[in-house]
């Protein structure tokens, strides 16, 4: 694969930093009681999200579960409208009706943001069926956590995609834990990608999910394969630095373990890579950091000053 150009790499860096700072701000606003409901942060998994989204071709689709902020931002959804959704404002991407778990942008072919574990997997199959049915060269990338591989939806959706040769890249974001249960405690075959064998589908790689370049390359290959031949199952081995959701006491893992992974912080690693590859790039990266901070500040201001939903919003869009 041709190495991406400097501009592209710096944009990936920008996206990763944007996600990180956005999530840190969300945590703060949650503590202040300004964000309600569940809040699942993407901190630690930025390389996976940005690597996956950067691999999509213009007409490809993406769908994910409830840990969806990173995908939304990488897809280019406006940070201020995403933040407004967090705050339950009518300017939010779902008009304040969906919240943190239900971000989507139909125009950008980002199909959500879904709160029921595994519930979006058959939707991915259906979107891919549309592409096959209309003979369109489109691939659906369906992200899921490792926990989702043990629900019936996973089995039914992967099997159907194999039987119908659907163009789907099933991508497990394996962050080691389904809520507080370690993969080894939840799966008879903890090497999750091996399940591909059972469905007679392409067994993709277990890619280093903390390396944005590696994720980008592996997903690009998987998309090319899926477009031609049908479904692929692959894993991105990653780690979430925060709890499952806000308020998770994290009794299931040690502080040492978290600290060990933090040493391999995907943003730090990418920064080191860029520093080695391009001369005098650090000031540029710092400038990106400043711009991101300004974007976040503007997003929060926009969200805080946005109007709340009205009665008309409450009752709209129940039916077509």
């Amino acid at each position: 694969m041709a190495a991406p150009k400097k501009d592209t790499l710096l944009d990936w860096y920008r996206q990763m930093v944007l996600i990180r700072r956005f999530e840190e701000k969300c945590a703060e606003l949650y503590q202040q009681g300004k964000i309600g409901g569940f809040l699942h942060l993407y901190i630690g998994q930025e390389a996976t999200g940005v690597g996956v989204v950067s691999a999509l071709r213009d007409h490809d689709h993406i769908i994910t579960a409830y840990r969806d902020h990173g995908i939304a931002l990488a897809k280019g959804m406006e940070p201020r409208r995403v933040m407004a959704e967090m705050l339950g404002k009518r300017t939010g991407t779902s008009g304040g009706k969906g919240g943190s778990m239900h971000l989507a942008d139909r125009e950008k072919r980002f199909w959500g943001g879904h709160g029921i574990v595994g519930g979006h997997l058959p939707l991915a199959a259906g979107i891919a069926l549309k592409a096959r049915y209309l003979e369109q060269d489109e691939v659906v990338v369906a992200l899921m956590g490792d926990g989702a591989t043990n629900i019936g939806y996973f089995h039914e959706s992967l099997n159907l995609s194999a039987v119908w040769d659907l163009p789907v890249v099933w991508l497990i974001e394996n962050n080691g834990y389904g809520m507080g249960t370690a993969v080894e405690r939840a799966s008879g075959q903890p090497e999750l990608v091996k399940r591909a064998i059972a469905y007679g589908m392409r067994e993709g790689p277990r890619v280093d999910g903390m390396d944005v370049l590696a994720v980008h390359e592996a997903v690009s290959e998987a998309i090319a394969y899926a477009a031609k031949h049908g479904p692929v199952l692959m894993e991105s081995l990653t780690y979430r630095f925060e709890g499952h959701s806000m308020g998770d006491p994290q009794r299931y893992r040690s502080k040492d373990e978290v600290a060990r992974y933090a040493e391999g912080d995907p943003i730090g690693r990418f920064r080191t890579y860029l520093d080695g590859k391009f001369k005098n790039v650090l000031p540029e990266l710092d400038e990106i950091e400043r711009q991101v901070q300004a974007t976040i500040a503007e997003a929060v201001e926009f969200a805080e000053n946005s109007p709340e939903p009205t009665y008309e919003d409450l009752v709209s869009f129940v039916y077509a």
Partner: protein, 327 residues
Amino acid sequence: MTEKIITIREALSSALREEMLRDERVFIMGEEVGVWGGTYAVTRGFLDEFGARRVRDTPISEMVIAGAAVGAAMAGLRPVAEIMTINFAFVAMDAIVNHMAKVRYMFNGQFTVPMVIRTTTGGGKQLAATHSHAPEVIFAHFPGMYVAVPGTAYDAKGMLKAAIRDDNPVLFVEHSTMLQRRSPVPVDDPDFLLPIGKSDIKRTGKDVTIVTYQKGLEWSTQAAEMLAQEGIEAEIIDLRWLRPLDLEPVFESVKKTNRAVIVEESLPMFNVGAEVAAQLQEQVFDYLDAPVKRVSAMDQPLPYAANIELMALPDAQKVVKAVKEVL
């Protein structure tokens, strides 16, 4: 307009066929819809006529049958998914209730879900408890979707065509023991559509209002004939849709008859009758001359043995008895 007497099975089949001919985006997916020809033979011949692209056999996987139809509908197709019996729809409950019915609202109208799930309901076939339900009312609990319960060939055809053309998700419930029932249906009108969410007065009468649907329509019609011989004129209102639920004709009828009996095959707790009775007391309390009566299955699982299964289900005699109690 030419009418022909056909069965509910033929009505469903012709509705599906006409809509597939009309709109390339309409396709069928489900267990045994293709090679087998449909377990109730509704899609017999479809595979030959439309090919495997548009008549898609699935594995025994109700969660993904319903869920993939939702995804395909969101993406712009118009799936008609078949879940062999409503008993198996329980397996797909999350896909139907949490995704099919809510995805539009939760994303503030970004997505439209133009799809139909066809399924069959009903007991009375000695299939024992897990296969003998008429639980469609459960699905009527949820806004964001519609529930169709046709009881005649005429209704089945016009309602299914309307359901396929509508942009909202519809659970289309057919009664497995009524597929051979016949009635006159327009045959040369490819745009024969019945409105979504309109009930229908199937028989007029002045003495009592019977509110019912599907199998209950059959029991109520038999009961009305028996009552007529005794000079009692029952008015029968066929709901046809459990959601949207159209009770205006029921209120008007009760203003005239001052008495109401609700007849259905579902279980008695929290059923259609409970909803209708509640709305009657809210809307026409002053017109009621007697308590509203309900006739339903007994509050317990259905057995295998034919004699005790029938004991647990409603029938015309039970309807007659209930009517006499309110007169």
